[in-house]
Symmetry: C3
């Protein structure tokens, strides 16, 4: 693409590209009385907030014909975080990658943050999805289906003298019986087993975080996973996912579940008499959403890796020519039941509703507006909130 | 420019550029006896120091004809800081930008750190100028005058669960009756109203920092604004600015002022019996400087945005051909009266004198040498100091 | 090179290049009983670990014919660290650089981490080599010998209000009587005098760190230099180095030594009755290694700067054509005697053995496997360990 910054060698063996994305978010919230109790914080939340949600700069390319590589760093929160950083060997029908990348998990999680419909991923996915990890993964390069299977470490990016890292086996399989532009059908599932990390210095299992917020990050309200789960020996993640598109209209849904296996002794040490009597906890939820392009575009489903790609407006924004870009309306319902927690009284639940309006002035620019409503609950106390959030996103 | 790294698309609709700057500073100081008292620190300052003052890497470009974008990250102090990060829509006579950029404020502040005459900005500007913020700003694209007006958040780049961000309305207007190479005249002014942020966790107004040092950062002597001002509800900034150039000679001056409005209750909680009895504080000062190019160049005044741009030597450094680049001599006087502080005894004042010699071997490289003398005062105790500081700066 | 990302101006006066490197490491260890005592840590070390050892992104180039510049940032450990960041003026037979770069010290230290034979540098070099510093350095550009001499500050990259930075004079001289592809002979030496930094706030000399680990960073076992040396006024570093290559076979060796000069009063304040009675401490050790390319390549010795460069496989990995890249086997013995410490009982010693197998699928990709064995000792307690470590490295 001429508009992007890409250099190809004349023999077609090498490509080099600089890439980046920036997302500015703002949110305004209106919360009911017991919100601080439900989110377990000592003070009322701010009423509005802004944030640079993501700011990534990176390079990527191909070398010597069969090798692909990336190095992408995220600077949001004024910290350094690695996004994709890997090298992969390309074969005719598959790809073997080593480095730092997303575990194969869920349609919404494996879809880039630049390509999701709302500001944040559906609450159930957002809470339960794994972060990027160092690992090795084989994935298929096929037309109508996608499989990926990998072995991953446990947040072992930085030096840590005391922690015996965990590890995970994770896989995902998706099929698309048909996929032709806006008309597509997608089914898939993921499963992952993770052995938890163990901190030898503190002599405890690493706390496990499964957190999501009110649908925006510009206000930091921890409605699910406010407190990490303690004493987790290992846990299993499961996803069932489906999507269907016909022209400008599409549906997307997934069910997410995590089963935790607690270490009884560690649990009693951590929580004492507040311990949950059960050593098997389950957290689950689902997200379902519909989207419709008012201007005739469609979601860009990619069957070869079971994710959504970039939306390309039929006409770029150019008011002089009467062109306004693409507009999409969307609605979502998501629910998470994290009422089971290693410590009694720390579980949380949420129902979450979103209405969205997206404006795509051109393929590299998106403006999103989300109206959200949630019912959240902790310890039989319920609270509600309403949030308006907006995002301006550009990429290069 | 062929020497820089820029890629243009063949249709002229897109441009991509990688940009960076690095500034290495060294300083040596000689301070009088009471300096630790005046700077309110427990130990004598170091006699010399070095620092990487700025180290920025970024990308910027145009896309689809009418959109401009930047993403620039600063790594100095081995931390991540955002410099410019925005997207702007370009119209025939104006520009609407959203993202993270400088508030419109002052000739010296809005001029890039690569283009100022001395190592640091004049003490009054440096102390009172706002930092970059997330915001939305309209600015003109006109020949002989410049106007900019924006609405800005309050340091809301990162997640913060407890702080209700403040906000500001800021504007700047400049006119240049004539501007033709080194011959120019510039008048301008800025005004800004900022509502302060409020920390709901600590139940206090965010401390307000208006700080400047001895004219260099390689030695960190906090002669103005050592202690943040507490209990500030809101404050107003004002600037009056002027510049005049004739050939290789130029003058530049500005007056800076901030009026703080304190919350009496919060002030008494913060400082008790040490509280300043007044709830209206004023901080002000001015900086005036003269510059002369020994080698015939002139300051690069840009009337369309009311700032100074790059100095281009008539001949680049090339000793074999007898060319030595451009040389500039400069002098500055600055004064800041920050004697009014929310807490008695924390106010500071300074008179600051600088002699400068700049060497421009080529357009991308600058070497600066500053000889400085200051008289600083706190609580009727005065101290003086003399500082020699040098900078090597390159950009790409 | 067409495969890299480089842009040259048509007049040959300017060059711009984006550069990066990523190293993923994994290690598994098996340690004897007293290892926690010897490494002076409260818990048993993890048995395995992973890490992003280096992840660097940077730009570099030439400008106006005679100037060279770099800006390279390292993001490993999710922190910001400067690697090379300097500007240099090029003359016919020399080069004057100002900025942040390696002190001239040792063949193994001055060789890039991308070009060393094993995962980590030999234990004696790794423990005693200086980090990059801000400084000014002249180095020769000659055919058969290399000299470099510089003046360096003391970790003065960031602002520090209280520390009087130290400084160092450092030089290195190497000669290569012959150097023709894989056939080379190299002799050299370095010397450096460093005045230690002084913390005026805590009123102590800056602690001096001379640390190395078990030969990998993915497990952080501090077998040498676990405790910084206190009360150091100044110290001198010395290196003697040699290398010899004949075809695919090569040898490399160096002796490293540091002599510390302690401040007696400061030592007694820091350690009291545990103080080492002597004020002159010596730490020394040596590393010797042999390497052989099974596939006919050779180490890329560069006599003009006395370091090793990139290994270029005779045939890139391409199984379809029966090509597998380059393979190298190597062995190393290293020993460090850091038994003298400012505080009694804190000295450590180590003998370290490594077997290595390197695979170079192409010039930009290296896979390393190291089998290591060490005998470490503290306070007459000895412990042993065996470590398997692997690295995947790519660069662009």
């Amino acid at each position: 693409a001429v508009r992007r910054f890409t250099v190809d060698s004349s023999d077609g063996q090498h490509r080099f590209r600089i890439r980046g994305r920036v997302q500015f978010d703002a949110a305004r919230g209106d919360f009911d009385d017991d919100i601080a109790f439900v989110a377990r914080q000592a003070h009322e939340p701010p009423e509005y907030g802004t944030i640079i949600r993501r700011a990534r700069l990176g390079a990527l390319g191909y070398m010597y014909g069969n090798w692909e590589w990336q190095l992408e760093v995220d600077f949001s929160d004024q910290e350094v975080d690695f996004a994709n950083a890997y090298v992969a060997y390309l074969m005719p029908t598959g790809r073997l990658a080593i480095g730092h990348f997303k575990e194969p998990y869920s349609l919404e999680s494996n879809t880039s943050s630049r390509r999701i419909t709302f500001l944040e991923r559906g609450a159930s996915v957002d809470a339960m999805r794994p972060s990027r990890q160092l690992g090795i993964m084989y994935s298929t390069l096929r037309q109508n289906w996608h499989g990926a299977f990998g072995f991953f470490g446990g947040e072992g990016v930085s030096i840590n003298r005391a922690v015996e890292e965990g590890y995970a086996f994770s896989g995902r399989l998706t099929v698309s019986p048909w996929a032709d532009g806006g008309n597509f059908l997608h089914f898939g599932g993921s499963a992952s087993h993770r052995q938890n990390a163990f901190d030898k210095e503190q002599d405890i299992w690493a706390p496990v975080r499964m957190r999501t917020r009110e649908g925006a990050r510009a206000i930091d309200l921890r409605l699910i996973g406010r407190d990490d789960i303690e004493a987790v020996e290992d846990f299993n993640r499961f996803v069932l996912e489906a999507a269907w598109g016909i022209g400008s209209f599409s549906l997307q849904a997934e069910y997410n579940r995590v089963d935790f296996n607690l270490d009884e002794t560690a649990k009693l040490i951590a929580h004492g008499t507040d311990s949950n009597p059960s050593n098997s906890l389950t957290m689950d939820g689902f997200s379902i959403q519909a989207s419709h392009f008012l201007t005739g575009e469609h979601r860009n489903y990619r069957p070869s890796n079971g994710t959504f790609g970039r939306v390309t407006p039929q006409r770029n924004f150019d008011p002089a020519s009467g062109n306004w870009g693409a507009f999409e309306i969307a609605a979502r319902y998501a629910t998470v039941d994290a009422s089971e927690h290693s410590r009694i009284g720390r579980g949380q639940e949420m129902d979450h509703y979103t209405l969205g309006l997206n404006w795509y002035p051109n393929p590299d620019l998106v403006v999103k507006l989300n109206l959200m409503q949630f019912d959240a609950k902790r310890d039989d106390v319920e609270s509600e909130g309403r949030v308006v959030a907006a995002r301006l996103q550009y990429e290069f």
